[in-house]
């Protein structure tokens, strides 16, 4: 039975492809593929049809399908182009086979359906797999990228390191930040770490909890943590939420935090020559002339 259907379809492939392309074209208007140039759309459709027929002829060879999916993914076409296309092919082919047959009863009808499904399903499976595979790949790459920019640790001067935090902090990220922070303290041999939260949009109980934990862990390994960059609205929420940061050294700005870090490490900033002195010298020089 099935081989008979295969014969009908393969022998009339030209007609079927024409019907199919007509169907596909009508989809293009309402579809996401609207921006694609007609000629590219046409040639891809033809290639798609060729792939389907190769698969039918070889009874499920996937090499061609794989190649085609790779190309479509590279072009960035939506998955729905493929699923819609195959649905359309299913409709067109079923209609065509039925129109070629004289006697149609329920058995026959179900045979036709199952044959057509048998052709289409492996292709759908393969294409959807390839697509989701490429998505997952992108997702994991992005996750790695996100981790990389998660929390840089910047040693500014012997014994003092700054960690600027940017973006929302969730539990997963908080753990990464804490690990990075502690390892960085050891690596740079820092006595003081300034955690700058200017770039953190919201500090809720959870974020505060993680920050406190990080500060405690830093204390355990033998360094000191200063929280800087606390904006007025953050100070308000912290107090309103009843979060106790009293054990935590905090400063409103990085500048103030850095000054207090210098104090802790027994250092001060000395201007080598004050501005007034410079001006005086200059005047002196001019008078000498």
């Amino acid at each position: 039975m099935e081989s008979r259907f295969t014969r009908i379809v393969v022998e009339n492939s030209n007609t079927i492809v024409q019907m199919w392309i007509k169907e596909i074209d009508s989809l293009k208007e309402v579809n996401y593929t609207a921006t694609i140039s007609d000629s590219l759309y046409d040639s891809t459709n033809r290639e798609f049809a060729e792939v389907i027929f190769t698969s039918i002829r070889n009874q499920g060879s996937t090499n061609a399908v794989e190649e085609f999916s790779g190309k479509i993914i590279k072009l960035g076409w939506p998955l729905s182009y493929i699923t819609d296309g195959l649905q359309a092919f299913r409709r067109v082919t079923t209609d065509f086979i039925l129109s070629q047959s004289e006697k149609v009863d329920t058995d026959y009808f179900s045979n036709v359906l199952s044959s057509v499904n048998h052709w289409i399903e492996p292709i759908i499976r393969q294409l959807v797999n390839d697509y989701t595979g490429s998505w997952e790949n992108i997702l994991s790459l992005q996750r790695v990228a996100l981790q990389e920019l998660s929390a840089p640790l910047i040693p500014v001067i012997d014994g003092i390191t700054i960690m600027p935090l940017i973006g929302t902090i969730d539990t997963e990220r908080a753990k990464l930040i804490m690990e990075g922070l502690l390892q960085g303290v050891i690596k740079h041999n820092s006595e003081v770490v300034l955690i700058d939260i200017t770039g953190v949009p919201v500090v809720d109980t959870m974020v505060a909890h993680h920050l406190i934990q990080a500060a405690e862990a830093v204390r355990l390994i033998g360094a000191k943590c200063i929280l800087v960059g606390i904006r007025p609205e953050i100070a308000q929420t912290i107090v309103k939420l009843g979060i106790d940061l009293s054990d935590f050294a905090t400063k409103s700005s990085l500048k103030k935090g850095f000054t207090s870090a210098l104090e802790i490490t027994n250092r001060t900033i000395v201007d080598l020559e004050s501005k007034e002195e410079k001006v005086e010298k200059l005047i002196h020089l001019l008078q000498g002339e």
Binding site: N189, E191, Q213, L220, I221, G222
Partner: protein, 118 residues
């Protein structure tokens, strides 16, 4: 194997190098207090660089030893606590409040120096 306790001027230096079981920890606590009593040491540095696990029991022994030494007039600084150990302790809910810490032995000695004001 008991944990060796070294004397340097009026400081005692301890580097814990092995996996500590409960018994060793308890013995160490006794040994250290004994040594503080005998030498009249005013400062102690316990270096934990090679310790890769501190559970609640060992943490308690360490916390106790610090409090006990303090009673006997010796300040204790814990040095070289590994990041992984610090994080695990915090997550366990053990904060070791009121304990002096330093990054390494050298910094620990400096800290003792500052604390004791000599």
């Amino acid at each position: 194997m008991p944990i060796p306790i070294l004397k340097l001027h009026n400081y005692l230096l301890i580097s814990i190098q092995t996996e500590i079981d409960d018994q060793t920890a308890i013995e160490f606590q006794e040994d250290l207090l004994d040594k503080i009593h005998k030498t009249g040491a005013s400062g102690v540095v316990i270096d934990l660089t090679s310790v890769d696990i501190i559970d609640s029991f060992i943490a308690k022994v360490l916390g106790d030893v610090v409090a006990m030494s303090d009673l006997m007039g010796a300040k204790v600084v814990l040095t070289g606590i590994q990041p992984a150990v610090a994080m695990t302790l915090i997550e366990l809910g053990i904060h070791l409040q009121n304990i002096l810490t330093a990054l390494d032995l050298e910094q620990g000695l400096i800290k003792l120096h500052q604390e004791l004001g000599v």
